[in-house]
Symmetry: C2
Subunit: 460 residues, 2 copies
């Protein structure tokens, strides 16, 4: 295994080529990483795993969650070693069950190593309790042998409100209980399961090894303890975990109203709104008068059409103008229509249709470039409460792909019509999405609870 | 004082206008922040203060360090309360000296509050030991009354090597000792001073207050403890502290070799190297053959001229291509000469000369925009060991301004000739700079230890 110096790892085994070379960050991972969750049940391990996975995938790291509970459920059914999965299964005295659980963990680890060492992925997230030192030692030894870097995330929580809300929100709907008992019974059983884990719980400790790297997330992000972070991926993971929060809030996304270039079918530019666009700007201001979103902040691109769209919003919303929210730079195609491009640069049209996510306009940007410049925006969105983003189609596609957890190749096809507003409300394991559409003709909003679909026409 | 919710602060008092609106990050600070250092002498508090100040200034936050030691030295001299500043001055039993020290701290705090509340600055760094709870309570109360957000950075170190190297490197040259005693005497006295502080040292503790926010930096970044981070500035500070390191290393910066556009005096574009440029690329590869920099990594822009400049470097240097390192986008001026611009867009030339840092090329970028997109590069440079950056004039000006600690308005005037290589070696409180110049004619390198000067001609 190559040497991993204490502060900045030599993440260097082979050159990467092609697309990932075009993306500053994804190019930095050379040593694969396993991120190992640690903590009692109902401490948000799966929440963190899923959220981190979504973030890393969006930033270009191939990432996958390996949930030992899912392996266990398959194993347990196959082996018929237990009936259901009630709390007694998780007792440290149930030898048969211990064997099943160890076997599930082993299978998950083997699959992780295959995933990373085959080159299929660069980060694996190992979602299990891993509450004993011996369990963690097994993992560390396994990773050392497989030449995988290992980082632990322990979620520690002694706030009964957080635990209770987690058990109620997520656990009573667990596949372990589905159809087998009432919600109340499930909750009671689950609390017993926690007690069983508590009997043998050994919190992470620096003394577990010189090479140990970890972050402890204490009471859902109130405090953190961080030890021996190694390499770029771990550093990003730590930063991300420090910026996310669980407080309820919503994020609103809208394109600017119709611009003069829109009405002519031209790309990019910096044209002002048409009269329809101005109507939308007024309607948007009215919408937020009625919606009464506490402490709303407005983030707007620096283009004229976006600034005009946000101009009627109440001044106490504190509008900020981010260059990072500007539309994708179409380079030599700025100001052209799609027909112009087809005619003047047929090869470009073809290349773009072939791989729309990685295609870069000559002297301009690709969607991948836009994702890269939006990373600080996503980090800041995670940190904030209620935010309205007034931006552009390509940019909002990138932001939506993050919250919708869509694969990157699909990202450039998310259909975001003009004069519609998306409201995203993060939940435990997903994001609620409501689409408000404004009809310019009759001056009315309508809404539907759905994610925005992919485009029929893959052109724009 | 406005409400500061636990995870994401309402940093919202007034709208900001003009330039800072164009910069995503600097626009986020509304509540001023005091960053308060805590720790025994020789724990790197001044190192952290200076480095953090440089980083925050570079990212657009107006930041200033208030060093209580400097106030004390003035006060002590004026009051003539002590003779010199030997360890006895720092004894908790020296009542007169305690009074002088409290008075120095008070003056520094008043100046900080003026600095922040007058709008002259947005972050003040309070560099003093602040090792007692009562001292910190005074600061917290003061900040609450002045409506300033307060964040503590405690440096904790029990590694004798780190302490010894810090005392030797920095403290024996302190103005407290200069000319008064030998280095050895100074060191001894200083170790006694540390002992005096130890007698009353109370490490930071969550129990000091519900509003307390802090980071503990343990053994120069091996571990961290982070508690109740509030708002954008504190989040950035934490991320920065987690990425810096003290290991010796050097950063090399070079522009690409001469390109065809260079030889024609044209801006931007993506032209290949001239024959002189190709000679420089070969010379650069030879330079690094001889320099033998361990584990060197090469970061290159995605422009042809930069890729060609790095192409002869040994493959085991692992070249990475960052779009963030591409030259400033000159928008409508791409491909023009300065004379063309003067002729076609005289108003642009004038605006640019008037405020070169904030001037943005129409459909292009400003230097401020470039700094903003380079922020992840700087963070990653801080995290890395030896790196060679092959990039472009405007980009290297931004990176150099960071390491040289130059004011932003000077940044666009740093003169970086073609075919020269800057070697930066970070030291405790500054950065050593060596300039290697390659003479294409005679095929020889020459070098000089200096910072690059500002341009005579402010044009390019």
């Amino acid at each position: 295994m190559e040497e991993l110096p204490p502060k900045h790892g030599a993440e260097t085994t082979k050159r990467k080529v092609a697309h990932s070379d075009e993306h500053g960050f994804s190019d930095q991972v050379r040593v694969p990483n396993v991120i190992v969750m640690v903590g009692l049940p109902a401490r948000g391990k799966t929440y963190i795993s899923k959220k981190l996975c979504r973030y890393l995938k969006w930033t270009g790291f191939k990432t996958k969650v390996f949930n030992v509970g899912e392996y266990r459920r398959t194993d347990a059914n196959a082996a018929d070693a237990v009936h259901g999965a009630n709390a007694s299964f998780f007792s440290p005295n149930n030898a048969d069950a211990l064997k099943v659980r160890a076997e599930s963990a082993r299978r998950a680890m083997e699959d992780m190593a295959d995933y990373l060492n085959s080159g299929a992925g660069s980060v694996a997230i190992f979602d299990a309790t891993n509450t004993t030192k011996s369990r963690r030692k097994t993992i560390i030894d396994f990773c050392t042998q497989k030449r995988i870097r290992c980082f632990f995330i322990e979620s520690v929580c002694d706030d009964p409100d957080i635990i209770d809300s987690n058990v109620t929100d997520v656990k009573v709907n667990s596949p372990d209980y589905k159809g087998l008992m009432t919600a109340e019974q499930a909750k009671e059983d689950f609390m017993r399961r926690i007690e069983n884990y508590k009997q043998q719980y050994e919190p992470l400790d620096e003394s577990e090894g010189d090479l140990l790297s970890f972050i402890k997330v204490i009471n859902a992000g109130r405090s953190f303890k961080v030890h021996q972070v190694r390499g770029h991926v771990q550093s990003r993971v730590v930063y991300f975990l420090m910026n996310i929060h669980l407080l309820p809030r919503s994020i609103y996304l809208t394109r600017h109203g119709q611009s003069e270039y829109n009405s002519m079918g031209r790309l990019g530019g910096d044209s002002p709104l048409t009269s329809d666009g101005r109507k939308y700007a007024l309607a948007l201001a009215e919408f937020f008068e009625e919606e009464e979103v506490p402490g709303l902040r407005v983030w707007c691109s620096q283009k004229v059409r976006a600034a005009q769209t946000s101009q009627h919003l109440k001044p106490d919303f504190h509008t900020e103008y981010w260059k990072a929210l500007d539309e994708i730079d179409a380079g030599i195609c700025e100001g052209l229509t799609y027909d112009d491009i087809q005619q003047r640069y047929p090869k470009q049209s073809e290349d773009r249709a072939h791989d729309k996510y990685h295609y870069r306009y000559p002297s301009g940007e690709s969607y991948e470039d836009v994702v890269s410049r939006l990373e600080p925006v996503i980090m800041e969105l995670e940190r904030q409460a209620n935010v309205l983003v007034v931006s552009h189609q390509a940019v909002l596609r990138c932001i939506l792909a993050y919250f919708y957890d869509r694969p990157l190749p699909e990202l450039p096809y998310i259909d975001i019509p003009l004069h519609s507003l998306v409201k995203l409300t993060p939940r435990a394991y997903h994001c609620d999405s409501t689409i408000y559409s404004y009809d310019i003709e009759n001056g009315k909003w309508s809404n539907t609870s759905a994610q925005l679909p992919l485009c029929d026409s893959p052109r724009d």
